[in-house]
């Protein structure tokens, strides 16, 4: 497929106001086109996210848009192995009022083709006025191309983790340009045992947990790697919770032999260094590793494919040693927003950028990893 756009047009495109009407109209039509595709839940999720009503709701959260304009050109380097992340990234850039150079995932994803096809069609037809605002590129890591796009952009958005960030940072930016980087992060979940035991829909909770973890092979930065337990009846709650997660994983997850072997090796690697105990010997769908100390070093032993550290809390503040700058999302069940809010204001952790209800960890928002993308990708004009 020929990719839409060219560098010259992007560089010539004047900034737009954030949430420009033309941009909202474009996304609304894109939403219509994408929600028709039923094969891919991630494409449908993006389609649902970018409908006009949803974006207007986002717009209403900002009180200073009148005096804002896009920064100019944003260069996005999107992760190679997540199919639709590039779409959320360019959407944030375009909604903030910018023209966008979008480096697509390295792998050929059908999902990316579907979105790109719909975008190209809209930009060639009804929304051709926005055609200069998007330029898609696809290339394996290449210093010369990194240099070329980095040299002309006003902001660079880099996904894909520490390795890619280090690589892109070899390419200089204009003096006023800056990076927004999405580094390697990890996440946790906190569950109140008593609230869980009194919940009616335990199947639904297992499903939410599954979507936060197994859906991404528990390898997305939003996926909980450690489970914190609050409340009185912890062991009872754990038994019920893990039995229902195990049953669901057994039904839906495809566990390859290398994953099972990898999880066993990960357990032993941790056990060789820190006090841990393997929690039950069921099947290999769920590997539970009880942890005695919530030490900051724990996360170097994290693994994927259903490998969970478990740590008992007497209060939320016991999570603190693990809430360093690398901790991104805290998914919660049975914990009140007030308690979470009090935890953040009282203990001021260096990390944790979002606390979201269980099942919502993958939901993209315009504030991500602690960055308000609309404000960061636009500039504020003062007239005195």
């Amino acid at each position: 497929m020929r990719l839409h756009g060219d560098l010259e047009s992007v560089l010539g495109a004047p900034p737009l106001a954030p949430f420009d009407d033309a941009v909202l109209a474009f996304f609304n039509d894109l939403s219509k086109a994408l929600t028709m595709t039923r094969e891919y839940s991630d494409v449908a999720t993006f389609g649902f996210w970018c409908r006009r009503a949803a974006l207007l709701k986002e717009k209403s959260k900002y009180d200073d848009l009148d005096c804002r304009l896009g920064r100019g050109v944003v260069f996005h380097s999107t992760p190679s192995n997540v199919p639709v992340n590039f779409a959320f990234s360019f959407a944030a850039g375009l909604l903030a009022g910018n023209a966008n150079i979008v480096r697509l995932p390295g792998k050929d994803f059908e999902q990316a083709s579907i979105i790109l096809g719909a975008v190209s069609e809209l930009l060639a037809g009804k929304h051709r006025a926005l055609a200069p605002y998007l330029f898609f590129v696809k290339y394996p890591p290449d210093k010369a191309l990194h240099d070329r796009y980095s040299a002309v952009c006003d902001a660079r958005v880099v996904w894909g983790g520490d390795g890619t960030i280090a690589e892109l940072r070899q390419s200089p930016l204009k003096p006023r340009a800056f990076d927004i980087t999405f580094a390697d992060r990890y996440s946790a979940a906190v569950i109140d045992a008593d609230a869980y035991l009194s919940a009616a829909d335990k199947q639904g909770i297992a499903r939410d947990f599954y979507n936060d973890t197994y859906f991404s092979d528990q390898n997305a930065c939003t996926a909980p790697r450690v489970i914190f337990w609050l409340g009185e009846r912890k062991s009872e709650a754990k038994a019920v919770f893990w039995a229902s997660v195990r049953a669901l994983a057994k039904e839906k997850y495809s566990l390859a032999p290398v994953q099972a072997v990898g999880k066993l090796a990960a357990f032993y690697r941790a056990a060789a260094h820190i006090p841990v105990s393997l929690q039950e010997r069921g099947d290999n769908y769920v590997t539970r590793v009880g942890v005695e100390n919530a030490d900051a070093g724990l996360m170097q032993y994290k693994y994927n494919s259903g490998f969970y550290f478990e740590y008992d809390l007497s209060a939320l503040e016991d999570m603190l040693p693990l809430c360093g700058e690398r901790m991104q999302t805290l998914t919660y069940y049975g914990v009140s927003k007030e308690d979470l809010s009090a935890f953040f204001s009282k203990h001021r952790p260096k990390g944790v950028d979002r606390a979201v209800p269980m099942g919502k960890s993958m939901d993209f928002a315009l504030t991500w990893d602690g960055y308000d993308l609309i404000r960061m990708l636009s500039r504020k004009i003062t007239i005195l």
Partner: protein, 359 residues
Amino acid sequence: MTIEEILQTPPFSLDKAAKSSMLTERLMSLTQRHIAACPEYAAMMCGAGFNSQSCESYCDIPFLPVSLFKALDLKSIPDEGVFKIMTSSGTSGQAVSRIYLDRVTASNQQKALVKIVSEFTGSARMPMLIIDSPSTLKNRAMFSARGAGILGFSIFGADKAYALDDDMNLDLPAVEAFLEKHRGKRIFLFGFTFMVWLHFYKELQKLARKPDLSAGVLIHGGGWKRLAGEAVSKDEFKLRLRDACGLADIHDYYGMVEQTGCVYMECERGHLHASAYSDVITRNHIDFSPCAFGESGVVQVVSVLPESYPGHSLLTEDEGVILGEDDCPCGRKGKYFHINGRLQMAEIRGCSDTYAVTR
């Protein structure tokens, strides 16, 4: 039984019951030994909730994934006791396994190898033609798997020659001179499977006048992975070599640097055999329960030899299938099996780039 007594036992003489009780006793004692001497191993067993009281058979002893020997320095001897360190042959940039040997374990490895292989080659030493280049052995400080294999099997050779030069080209004058010198004698050929195929067989094929190796016995190993692109089956490998140079006595072997000495030799019926000094168990990856005979699973290997490092019970990254026990038509006792190949890599999802790190 002491290890000396075990190694006195003819390698294919024990039936299931005798072997099982011998292995259980020896492997339990090795487990205790490593718990006492290797702190990391002790911590792993403690974390896994291992309790020797509840172990009824050697099958209940925990197995360490072989990759742990890449991530950790696991040894049950003081630094002064290290006689040599064996490393796996990883491709450049990959981590390699480090296996720490003391004199006792190294010597027992050699004894076991001699016992096992002699059952297939006879105990007389033979002129040995190594299907590799002399440079493979030059760096003696670190033993690569290929170097270790050559060195290990060299005890079966009297006069040694290399069939390839340092650039991996067939050294035909050297081969012909060697065969001329040993005319009429049985010749022992040894090499890694892909070397034999790519650098020996394929070159022989091009020759108008091929050397006569009908008096030879070839032992080859190292796996078929690197021949995957060649689409050559085990049977075809044998057939084509026989056609090319008359070589008819050919044995594949399965083994790994983590359990050197306990090789699994291919018999006349094409089956790999576990000797009395080691065993294979195939495990279902869903819960690691043992597979039934005939059912494919992840291969676990146990060995009576490792005293200097906790490698007596290991989970490999290979898939295999046990075909039977004590009843191979070749007459050897013990399990016989087939290795299907490496476990398939799984494509793991996630946010962090794979292209940034795999270059």
